[in-house]
Structures are given as C-alpha cells and as structure tokens.
C-alpha cells in the first residue's frame, strides 16, 4: 500500500478531470431532477385538491408506488425496462444523447416528486381551517384563497421536510452510477481502479458529498429563518 498521498492524486490532470466531470454531472443530475420533482409535486398537489375521487386515488397510487419501490429498482425499470419499449428511432436518439443521464433525471425526479407532494400536502393540512374560512368570507375564490393565503403558509410549514428530502435527492444521484451515469461515485470507482489510491479518492468524494449536503441543509435553515413569520411561535 502506498503511503497516504493526496497530492499525487491532484497532480494527475486526468484524475482531476474525471473527478471534476463527476462532480459536475452529479450537480446537473441533482438540479435537473429537483426541478422536475418540484414542478411535478405542485401538479400532483393541485390534482389531489380537485373534487374528483378518481384524481385523488390516482395521486395516492402514484405516491404509494414511488415510496414502496426502491429507488434503484425504479431507475432500472426506466433505463432497462421502459427504454426497451420505446420506438427504435427514439432509442437511437437517446443513446446518442446521454440516455443514462436522461433516465436518471426522469427516474429520480418522478420518485422525489412523490415525497415533495406529500410534504406540501402535510404543510397544507397544518394550516388552521379558520384561514380558509376567513379567505372565503372576504370573497376570495378557491384559487385566490390557495394562492394568497393557504399556500404561503403551507410551504413555510413544509420547509423542513422539503429540505430533508432535497438532501435525499442529492444523495440519490449516486444511484445513477448503477445505470452507467458517470457521476461522482462512478468517477471515484474509475479513479480507484486506475490509481489504486482508494483511501484518498474515497476521502475526497466523501468530503465533497458531505460538503454539498451540509450546504443544502445550511441553505435550508437560512431560508426557513428568512421566511419565518414574524411573531410566530
């Protein structure tokens, strides 16, 4: 075993490039799936609030599926399973345009949307019933009440859970490695295979992941503090 030598790793430009690409791809995948998840979560919530019992059950089924099936299996189903059902031309196009990353983003985004929508829903349920009544008594319509009175409070209620799940989403980006996305964990394994400097490589990657996770958590705390309603308990 060669001695612990962090700089030997950094001195090699090839490894640095691989590491850097890995980091970039992790961030891109995480951000893209977060955006997809948030947008979809709002849609799911909106559908759930409609009076249609069928719509509500559909959303419940969606959430239930994504919470009970392991994320890795979901990714495999997308990349190995559903991809094979697509028309040939589309498969070809995808293969040339980072199919793995695309399916990783879709898989992770759809999965986290379930969690985000449940967080928002809990946040909404925590808003006292009197708020909706007051809004209706003043003449606000359903959408107006939601937009000006209920959702601002619901989002504030849901923030701790949303931040937690954002950290989960970020960590889940490492699962994409199993379907061939060259993100950070994948890069780590590649570098390890080539340099045998396992400890140093793992350490750097761990510190990077930890750093970003803590950054997200700190950002979340900051956001919570700034949006805190003055005088609230």
């Amino acid at each position: 075993m060669k001695g612990f030598d962090l700089f030997a790793l950094f001195a090699n430009p090839e490894f640095v490039t691989m590491l850097w690409s890995g980091v970039k791809l992790t961030l891109v995948v995480a951000l893209a799936s977060w955006l997809l998840a948030m947008t979809l979560a709002v849609v799911l919530l909106a559908v759930r609030l409609t009076p249609s019992a069928l719509a509500r059950r559909a959303v419940q089924a969606y959430v239930s599926y994504h919470r009970n099936v392991p994320t890795l299996v979901q990714l495999m189903l997308w990349y190995f399973g559903i991809a094979s059902l697509l028309p040939g031309a589309l498969q070809g196009w995808l293969a040339e345009h980072n199919a793995e990353a695309v399916f990783a983003v879709i898989g992770l985004g759809l999965c986290q949307a379930a969690y985000f929508s449940e967080d928002l829903r809990s946040g909404l349920r925590a808003v006292p019933a009197g708020q909706a009544e007051a809004a209706r008594a003043l003449g606000h319509g359903y959408l107006g009440a939601l937009r000006h009175v209920l959702m601002p409070q619901a989002v504030r209620n849901a923030m701790p859970a949303l931040v937690n799940h954002t950290v989960s989403l970020f960590k889940n980006s490492s699962l994409a490695m199993a379907i061939g996305v060259a993100e950070l964990t994948h890069a780590v394994k590649e570098i390890e295979n080539q340099s045998f400097r396992t400890f140093e490589t793992y350490l750097i990657a761990t510190l990077l992941y930890l750093g970003f996770s803590l950054l997200i958590m700190a950002g979340g705390t900051l956001l919570e503090r700034r949006s805190r309603i003055a005088g609230a308990r």
Partner: protein, 252 residues
Amino acid sequence: MGSVIDIVRDNWLLLLIGQYPNGPLGGIACTLILSVLGIVLAFPLSVLLALARISPWRWLSWPATALIYVARGVPLLMLILWVYFLVPLLIGHNVSGFVTMLVTLVLYEGAYLAEVVRAGIEALPKGQMEASRALGHSYLGAMRRVILPQALFNMLPSMLSQFVSTIKETTLGYVINVPELTFAANQINNRLLTQPFQVFFILAVIYFVVCWTLTWAATQLERRIEAKRAGTAAGRAAGRAPVATPTLAAEP
C-alpha cells in the same frame, strides 16, 4: 402479460432463495435476512448513539452528533464502498458482500434510528424525567426504566417504517454483488435479454407488495398505540391522526 407469468413461473425459485444450495442464499430470503439482521443489530447502536447525542457531556454529544450528520450527508453507496475497503484491512482477510452490506446497513440505520429514538425520547413530557429523579433514580437508571421503555414503544411505527427503508436499501447490495433480490432479477434479465421490462416490472411488484404490506402494518400499529395512549374511545378516534414522526426518512 402472459410473458410475465411465464417468467415468474420459470424463475420463482431463483427470486425466492437465489442459487441456494448451489450458491449462497439469495433472492427475497437474502433481502429479508439482511434487512432483519441489519435493523436488529442497528437498534442497540442507535439507542447508544441517541443517548450520547442528548447527553449533557460535550465530549460524548459532539462526536455522536458528528457521526449522525456524516451518515445523513453521505450517500449509502459511498458508505458501502468505504466499508468494502476498510473492513478487510481492519480484520485482516476478505469478507463477503453480504457481511459488507450488513455492516454498512448497521452503521447507516444505526445513525438514522438514533434520530428516531431521540425524537421519541424528546417527545415524552419533561415531567417523566423530573419525577424519576425526584424519586432518586440516577439519570441512566431513569433512562433505562422509565424513559426508554415509553419512548421505544411510542416509536414502534417509526421503527417499522425504518425497517421498510432498510429493505429498500438492501437493493444497493447489487453493486457489490450481494445475491439479494435485485441481483437475482438482473441475473434473470441477463439470461433472457429480450424481456427487460417484464423482469423489472416483476421486481418492482415484489418490492411494492412487501413494503406496502409492512407500511400498512405500521399504520395499523400507529393507530393502536394512539388509542392506547389516549386510553379512551376518544383516543381511538384521535388515533386516525398519525403520531408525529420525524421527517428524517432514509430512502435511497
């Protein structure tokens, strides 16, 4: 759809117990054993970590908190790689993927369960500890005889849902060739090659059934506990609202 039935019929044994007896125990059996062992061994660790975290001695609480934050901030996959690398170094010879996965799960779930236990302890009224101390119990004695029994009982539903998370986490064993269910499914897919969607569909369904049933059981348990806590018919009605569970859910 007919092909789904065929695949299940031809491969159900592989999915159930892997290649045993021609290989190690695999499939669903391996998944469940790994999960049960993982959570059972993680449990005492989690109690210790939780107690350390809330202890008034900084030399204990700071490292414990740091450990928990590290487990929260690092992907499970990364942790698996670490354990796979370090354990053979520490004990001098190679270990199987199964053992590696088990150790990882114990550490990971230990940290997450520690937060669950901590929430359970902190949810109890302060009067419980005060009354115990007033009666002369030491801090640890009060913990052991009064606080922990109540906290752990109340947190049973949360722990059951952490067990479900553990089952989902075992799928990562695939990456280090642990012969659990996902690995078995991939073996089938690599053999058949022409029906990937059906194979992974079956895989998803199996996990869904197992996890959904356990989650349902956890909800039922939650209601019973709520009713027991309130102690009256009103409590049973109140039991429809879920117990405050920590938002920290481990879910790869």
